[in-house]
Amino acid sequence: MNMLQKIGMISEQFLAQLGLYAITLGKTSKRILSSPRYPRLILAQAEEVGVQSLPVVLLTALFTGMVLALQSYIVFHRFAAESMIGVVVSLSMVRELGPVLVGLMVAGRVGASFAAELGTMRVSEQIDALWTLSTDPMRYLIMPRVIAAIVMMPLLVVISDFIGIYGGYAISVFMLDQNPAVYLEKTTQFMELKDFYSGLVKAGFFGMLIGVIGCTEGFNCKGGAEGVGRATTRAVVISCMSILVSDYFLTAWMFG
C-alpha cells in the first residue's frame, strides 16, 4: 500500500466516522421533536451525568482555581499587581478552563460510561431486543443521554466557575494575604456577561459532543468484549480531541 492509498483510506474512515456522528445527531434531533420523550429516563441520565460527576468536577475546579491564583501571584508580585489575581482566575475559569476542564472530565467519566453501556447492550443483543419489543433503540437509549449531557454540562460549568473562583479567592486571601474585597471587586469589574454566556454555550456544545460521540461509539460497537473496550477508548479520545478543537473555533467565533 503506497502513501496515497494510506491517506485515502484514513480520510475515508475519518469521513465515514464523521458521517456516523452526523447521522446520530440528526436522528436524535428528529426524535427530540416528537413523543415519547421518556422524561423518566432523561432524569435518570441527568442524575448520572450531573450529580454523579459533581465530585470530580468540584475537585478539578477547586484545584485549578487555586493553581491559577498561585501562578498569577508569582508573576504579578514582580510588578506589584497582585490585585489582578482575581481577574486572571475569574476570566480564565469562566471563559476557558471551566467549560474545557469540565468537558474533559465529563468526557472521561460519562462518555466512557455511555459507550461501555451501549456497547455491552449491543454485543449482548439487548439493543436488538428493544427493536423486537417495538421500541426505538435510538429514542430509548441515545436521546435521553444526549439531552442529559447538553442540559447538565452548563449547570456543571456554572458550579465549577464558582468553585474555581472560590479556590483562587481562598489561596489569595488565606495564603497570600491579599485583600478579599479587592479580589472580589476585580473579579466582577473585568467580567462581562458575555464571558459567562460564552462559557455556557461552549458547555452545551461540549455536552452534545460527549453525548453523540459516546452513544455512537457504543451503539455501533462490534466484536464482543474487545469491541466494547475499543469503543470506550475511542469515545473518550475522540470526545476529548473534539472538545479541544471545537473550543478554538467557538472562541474564535465568539470573541474573534
Partner: protein, 265 residues
C-alpha cells in the same frame, strides 16, 4: 388480510453478504399461520442472519419478506417498529435488560404501550408462573441462572400476546432437562395459543419436538424442507450427516472442515 392460504411469513429469494462473504443466497421459505417452522443448520450458515432479516435488524441485499402479504422490506423505520407489536423474540442469550427487574423485562412491551404498572406486573407474574418461575418478579437478571434467563426471555417474548414468535437457539447452552422444559413450553405455547413460530436451532431433539416443518440451511442456501417425521427417514446425504452429527460427509467441503479432517487424520 390473511387467510389460511396466505403464508404468515413468506421469505422470497433473500440474499445477504458481508463484504466478500456470502451468508445467504436466494433463500426462500413459507411459514403458514399457526404452524411452527424450524430452520436447522451448522453454526455460521446464516440462520441468525435469516431471522434478523425478517425482523428488520439486518437489511438483505436482495429478495422480499412478506408478513401477511405485506412486504416488510418496503416499510419505513416507524412502520416496521409498529409491526413489531405483533412479534415476540427469544434471543439466544436471552438479552434481558440488565438495569430492569425480571417483571419489568417481561412486561416491557406492555409498559411501553402505556399499560398501568400494577396491571403490567400482574400480567408479567402470570406469564412467569406459566414458564415455571413464580415469585421471581423482583429479582434482577444478574441473579438468574442460564435456564431461568431463557425462560424469562420466553416470558418476555410472549407476554404481549404476539401473533408470531421467533426463537433463536432456544435450547443452546442448557442442560438436557432444562432444554426439555423449554421445548415443552414452546410446544404448549404453540398448541394453546396457535401462535406462528419460527425457530432456528442445531439441536435436533428440539427441532423434532417443536416443529411442524423443518428447513435445512446449508452453505447459505435452503437445502431441504421436510417434516419432523422425515428427520430419521430422509436419505439426503447432507441432512443425514447433520442429523447424525458426523464430521465426514458432504458438508465438510469447507476449508474449516477439511482442516479439522486433516488434523484428525
Amino acid at each position: 388480510m390473511s387467510n389460511d392460504q396466505t403464508p404468515r411469513i413468506s421469505i422470497r429469494n433473500i440474499s445477504k453478504r458481508f463484504g466478500e462473504k456470502v451468508i445467504l443466497e436466494d433463500v426462500s421459505l413459507d411459514i403458514m399461520p399457526g404452524t411452527s417452522t424450524t430452520v436447522i443448520g451448522m453454526s455460521g450458515t446464516g440462520k441468525s442472519v435469516l431471522i434478523k432479516c425478517v425482523l428488520g435488524l439486518l437489511k438483505p441485499d436482495s429478495g422480499e419478506i412478506f408478513v401477511d402479504g405485506e412486504n416488510w422490506l418496503e416499510l419505513s423505520e416507524d412502520e416496521h417498529l409498529d409491526r413489531m407489536r405483533r412479534v415476540g423474540m427469544l434471543f439466544q442469550g436471552a438479552a434481558l435488560f440488565d438495569s430492569l427487574s425480571v417483571w419489568e423485562n417481561v412486561a416491557f412491551a406492555l409498559l411501553e404501550r402505556g399499560e398501568e404498572r400494577t396491571t403490567a406486573r400482574e400480567k408479567a407474574a402470570e406469564v412467569l408462573e406459566w414458564v415455571g418461575l413464580p415469585g421471581i418478579e423482583a429479582l434482577m437478571p444478574a441473579e438468574l441462572s442460564g435456564g431461568m434467563s431463557k425462560r424469562v426471555g420466553l416470558a418476555r417474548a410472549i407476554c404481549h400476546k404476539p401473533d408470531i414468535v421467533f426463537l433463536d437457539e432456544p435450547t443452546t447452552g442448557l442442560d438436557p432437562i432444562m432444554s426439555d422444559v423449554i421445548n415443552r413450553l414452546i410446544v404448549n405455547l404453540h398448541k394453546t395459543s396457535g401462535t406462528t413460530i419460527m425457530a432456528i436451532t442445531h439441536d435436533m431433539k428440539s427441532a423434532a419436538m417443536i416443529s411442524d416443518n423443518i428447513g435445512m440451511l446449508c452453505h447459505g442456501q435452503m437445502h431441504r424442507q421436510i417434516t419432523p417425521d422425515q428427520l430419521d427417514s430422509d436419505q439426503d446425504p447432507m441432512l443425514r450427516q447433520f442429523v447424525e452429527g458426523r464430521a465426514e460427509g458432504p458438508i465438510n467441503c469447507s476449508v474449516w472442515g477439511k482442516q479439522i479432517e486433516e488434523a484428525v487424520k
